[in-house]
């Protein structure tokens, strides 16, 4: 018998950070989370799974289109029609979302209560699923402690939306210790909430399947569900299955010792080909970071747009519609000694000293911030605060911006008339 365990569907949560450009395969990123969930349904049907477990965060709390809920219902309908049982519970996003309300899910789909821990026994499968959903967005008590005792003779599965003992980038909801889970005596803990796949323990199994579809570059690599195989009343196999349709990744190109932008481009082309080969035909959304102390630095900094345009052309050539350069970051360094430059009593030294002075002066910084305000106040809120906010909104980001300005000025000033 097989069980599919997934979590964090975040249906219709849009993929972010994919900068639009001429020829970008926008149509390939539409509906990615839905396609991934359809893949999950197909997996359950193909593998003739008896049970599908969804450990919360079906919806994205910020998303308000009810069509998403109707889509969810229709897909569950496919499973139920094929005789597959579905058990799910609400995660923090679902608790905050209104999408789940009013929705009458198909008969055969079981939602675990968010009021108290419950057990659902599937006698014909010999499986008991225990769990409790989120009543509110922020659940801070340790739900696992009050989960029911295991049923002897059955395969006991705990369904729980939790951060366990804390995971970077994830709110510490329903916190618990791994030991709490192990001590419960279940056979398998089907967790949700953390978007990176992680097997915390194998005896018993404690598994974060990760989310179904990476949504931005901070969720890189293969995404999907966990396929559990049960035989003779115990878990005999746990296997990750990739179900994502768009894959995020970061490719670092070492430009050290590259003498020219062309050489950097050639190296990047090789890196892109290699990355593409690993994406298994999915759309690869790749962030390219060019780094290292490089003789090509000046050339790159003087006209980064040209480099970006050329790189995009190469990406189109190498990957066609299979590749989207999410972002291209030029992080090369000048071989020259910037401190020594700043020490010089000449025009160049003046500029560097000026920049150094600005960094250290609150007044100078705020003046520059005012200079930027003419754009900042026009930007959408999501670029002013939150994960997508522009870097210069915080001091570190602002310093980085000044670094970039410094490199820009140095390269342009050095280039003289030849640029």
């Amino acid at each position: 018998m097989k069980i599919v365990h997934a979590a964090d569907l975040h249906l219709d949560s849009a993929l972010s950070g994919l900068e639009r450009y001429e020829g970008a395969p926008v149509h390939r990123i539409r509906g990615a989370t839905r396609r991934a969930f359809e893949n999950l349904v197909a997996l359950a049907l193909d593998e003739e799974a008896a049970l599908v477990l969804l450990a919360g965060d079906i919806y994205d709390d910020e998303w308000k289109d009810y069509s998403t809920a109707l889509f969810f219902r229709r897909q569950l309908g496919r499973l139920v029609e094929a005789g597959v049982k579905v058990v799910w519970l609400r995660g923090n996003h679902d608790a905050a979302s209104r999408l789940g309300q009013h929705l009458d899910l198909p008969v055969g789909v079981v939602e675990l209560s968010h009021k108290r821990p419950v057990s659902v026994a599937f006698d014909e499968l010999g499986v008991v699923v225990h769990g409790q959903g989120y009543a509110t967005r922020a659940v801070t008590e340790n739900l696992a402690l009050s989960y029911p005792e295991p049923v002897p003779g059955a395969v006991n599965v705990g369904l729980l939306h939790t951060s366990v003992d804390g995971r970077e980038g994830h709110a510490p909801y329903a916190p618990c210790a791994l030991a709490d889970l192990i001590d419960k005596g279940y056979d398998y803990w089907a967790l949700g909430h953390v978007h990176t796949r992680e097997v915390l323990c194998e005896r018993p199994w404690v598994v974060f399947p990760g989310n179904l579809q990476g949504r931005h570059v901070r969720e890189p690599g293969a995404k999907g569900a966990t396929l559990i195989e049960v035989a003779d009343g115990r878990v005999v196999g746990v296997e990750a299955r990739a179900l994502d349709v768009v894959r995020f990744g970061v490719e670092r190109v070492d430009a050290t010792d590259a003498a020219s932008a062309d050489e950097v481009l050639a190296r990047t082309r090789d890196a892109l080909s290699a990355a593409l080969a690993d994406a298994d035909g999915r759309l690869l959304a790749l962030r390219v970071i060019v780094e290292g102390a490089s003789g090509a630095h000046g050339e790159l900094c003087r006209d980064p747009e040209r480099f970006v345009a050329e790189l995009r052309a190469i990406a189109s050539e190498v990957g066609g519609e299979e590749l989207w350069l999410e972002k291209i970051r030029l992080a090369t360094r000048e071989a020259a000694d910037l401190a020594a430059m700043a020490a010089r009593d000449d025009a160049i030294g003046q500029v560097f000293r000026g920049l150094a002075a600005l960094r250290g002066s609150a007044g100078g910084r705020s003046e520059l911030a005012r200079e930027l305000a003419q754009l900042t106040h026009r930007l959408p809120a999501s670029l002013r605060s939150g994960p997508l906010a522009l870097d210069w909104n915080d001091p570190t980001g602002f310093d980085a911006l000044l670094d970039d300005v410094e490199q820009l000025l140095l390269s342009r000033l050095s280039a003289g008339d030849d640029a």
Binding site: D12, L15, S16, L18, E19, R20, A24, V26, I29, R30, G31, A32, W63, K64, D65, Y66, S67, T68, A69, L70, R98, Q101, H102, A259, G295, G298, P304, E305, E334, A336, D337, A340, A343, R344, D345, D346, A347, I348, G349, Q350, V351, G354, L368, L372, Q374, L375, L379, P380, L388, L390, W392, L401, D404, V405, L409, R412, S414, A415, G416, D417
Partner: protein
Amino acid sequence: MRLVELGLTRFGGFTDARLDLSAPGLHVIHGRNEAGKSTALRAIRALFYGIPHITSDAYLHDELLLFARVVGADGSELAFQRRKGRKNTLLAPDGSPLEERVLSRLLGGVNQALFETTFGLDHERLRRGGAEIAAGGSDVGHTLFDAGIGAGSVKRLLDELRREADELYSPRTQARTKLINAALREHKERVELVRTASTRPQAWADQKKELVAAQAALGDVEARRSEHKRRLAAAEELVKVLPLVARRDAARAKLELVGGAPPLPQDAAERRIGAERDLAATERDLERTALELAGVERELAELRVPEALALLDDRRLDALRERLGKYRDARVDSAKRQAELAAAKASLARGLAALGRDDTEPRALVVHRADLARVGSLAVERAGLEAARAQAEARLGEARAALAALEAEVGLEPWRAADPGVPADALDRALPSLERVDAFARRFANGDQAREKLEATRSALERERATAETELAEIALAGEVPTEAELLRVRQERDARLLELRSSRASESRVALEQLAGIEELVRRADEVSDRLRREATRVARFAALEARRRSAAAALEGSSASEAVLASEAAALAADWTQLWREVALEPLAPAEMRARLERLLRAREKRAELHTAAARARTLVASADAALAEAGRRLVAWGERWAEAVRAMGLGPGATPAEATEVGAALAELATTATVAEELRHRIRGMEQASTAFEAEVAEIARRHLPELVEAAAREVEWAASEIFRRHRACRELERQVSELEARRARAIARSDELGARRESALAELALLMQVAGVTDRAQLPDAEARAATRAQAETEIAALERDLAALTGSADLDALGARARGVALAEARARVAELDEELAQLDAEHAAARDRCGAAERGLARYDDSETAADAQVEAETWLAKVRAAAERWARLQLGWRILRDEVERYRASHQAPLLARANELFPRLTLGEHSALVVDHDADPPVLCAVARGGARVAVEQLSDGARDQLYLALRLASLEHYARASEALPVCLDDVLVHFDEPRTRATLALLGEVASQLQVLLFTHHEHVVTEAVKVVPASALSVHELRRGEPPRRRERSELGG
């Protein structure tokens, strides 16, 4: 930092070239075009920052290598090498890698680009620098800044940054073409689309609630409507039922009128009429049949058949009729046969008399045909036997004659006559075969041939030897011919002597001297022979060739003698064999051809003799066989005579009778025998006919006696007539019998018909009785009335049943009486009015139902609109892509915007802090460079921004853009030199490389500039590259010797420092 030594180890066209730049002061590096000036400049750059991967300096050397020794401002010295490559290109003098920072510490934070722009200057850059000051509106800040970097125009850079930032974004809301503005707008549109395309959960819930309500309302109206329909149906049913109930009541009344009339079968009347008709017809036929029967009986009574005659068998009469014919024929034939018998008897008597045997019984005369045939064949056989004997005699004679002839021929011997030397018994001896003789002939011929050939070869060789000897003699006459052999010999002798001399170890003795003299002689002779061999090479060669030919011919001749002896012995052996061959036959052996002819003759004679012997044997056999045949013929003739005697005795002839006699007697006897046989047959036939006639008459008499007694008498008299009468009467009797039987058949048929009619009559009567019984009447006349009443009853009952069926079908109810009771009180019009009323109400309900259904459909459609559409989600995805675009562009914009802002501010700060010292120094330099044409540089603070002006000799202010190109060059040079000097005071300066900067300067200004450079060189290391000799000349004139070094670069030569003595001045 000063470059004190530059080593071009392997670079460009240089190999292991060194430039010593250690001397203080100005270094002028002179070289003509292509001498390597530019190479040296590139080498300095490459030393500090690396050799480019793509370089024009690798045409001579594969592994480029440079060397340098530098001294920092702090006095520290560094020697290093630079190789071409990607990593570890900086090396210590011993080749070990050096870290770049060891060098970069001395470079003072100057990167390659800045080194080229700040510390390098050529005439083009000089000209461009001047022009840019003018083009930039002489903004003091910009000008000082540009002169400080030497790279280009900071004004242009500021404009560039401004422009690039503006292209990305404009704060004006209506700006549409700016990338960020446009992307923001796109983003906003998508966000709006997300909002409008999204379904609110509440909206969906409301719609669902409405659907539930609409479905409930629909259910309610449907329930009411179906109840109403039920009522309407009942009313409509009543309207249909009422007429039927009325008709049913009427039918029932009619039924009561006919009361308890017994029911009759439907066809009762028909059956009654049929039965009455049958009865009448049957009675008529019965009367007719009785009359016919009476007639037949009468006819039968009248007919009488004679009984005796009737008993007469028809077959007996048929036989009698046949015998009557034969009886009539026999009476005619009998007379004719009696006459033929008498004639035969007479003929027989005549034949016997002719043979003289009239006494003999004709039967005894008959001779058997076999005996006659035997006599005939014996006569023929006799002739054959006699012919055979004659033939045998003839053959014997012939055979004897032939034998005699052959025996005579054997005695002759013709072969001996032709060759008398042949012995008589030669033919009986063993003669050799012809093939063997032929083989001997060939061997004789071969031997002859071989001898001839050998003879020919010998004479040819002898001729050859003679020729060679003659020519050799001729050559010998011309003098002795030297030979290799002679040379060898003389030399061997010489060498032997020398060996001897050496071994004697007495070289100083006299003997030795003599020996030496001898050896000398031998050396001389050997040389002479050798010389001659060379000189007379042709002759020597010819001589040697001839000698070789002569020797070869002699050797060949010796060989041929041996062959000759072999041939002779072979011939003798052959002759002996030949003689031996013929000894056996005792013939003298002649030549093979003759012996072959002789042998052929003998062989032919032996063959002929054998043939003759064979023929004689055959002839003797023939004589013997002819003899035997003759004897056999005689024996056969004797045997024939015995058989003949026996045969003729049967005919009454003696053995001496001839075959002809015997044949004739036999023929006569045969004829008589035939006649006797004919007479016998005739007698027999006549007797048969008489017996048949008697039997016929007896039969007729018998028949008459038994069956027709009245004809007995006539039969005895007129048998033929009596027979005919019998036949006639018998026929009449048979006719009577036929008539009687026919009448009897008719009588039987009439009786059967009468029986059948009787039965039919009974049947009709029974039918009528039955009908009367069913109808309950006693009289047939009462039947029609009963029938009418029964029909009326049946009709009424049928009608009632049909109506009840219809009613049951209409109402679906079995209880028709209750229905009738219900309907009876209601009027049809009343019922119709009720239906109309209900119809009207139903229409109202239908409308209500349609409205409820519409509401339900609308609610369903409304809910269906909320599908799992991706429109909003897609719009959100698009919004995110635009957002990301805005983000990326905003970052770029921020860099450009801040870059612009900071640069602008720093240029101004630079001006503020550097204007005074730089202008002060430039004010010293510029007048000197312009030879006083311009006295000073001033800042016009009235302008905004402040601008730089020159003060002309007369004190007038001249704007930079109004200065001549040369003056601008000098202005820019003054500012650059001032900046460099200023820089060098506080920071680690690098060598200043000037590349033919003085191209556009006239001689006085060149001098002035060189003098200035000489001064500047006390603070900065100045390397002036030029390919103009006059620059060198002028430098020597104006720069003190202690502050000037001149280096000469020539193509293909190592660089050389010109000594002071060479510089003159």
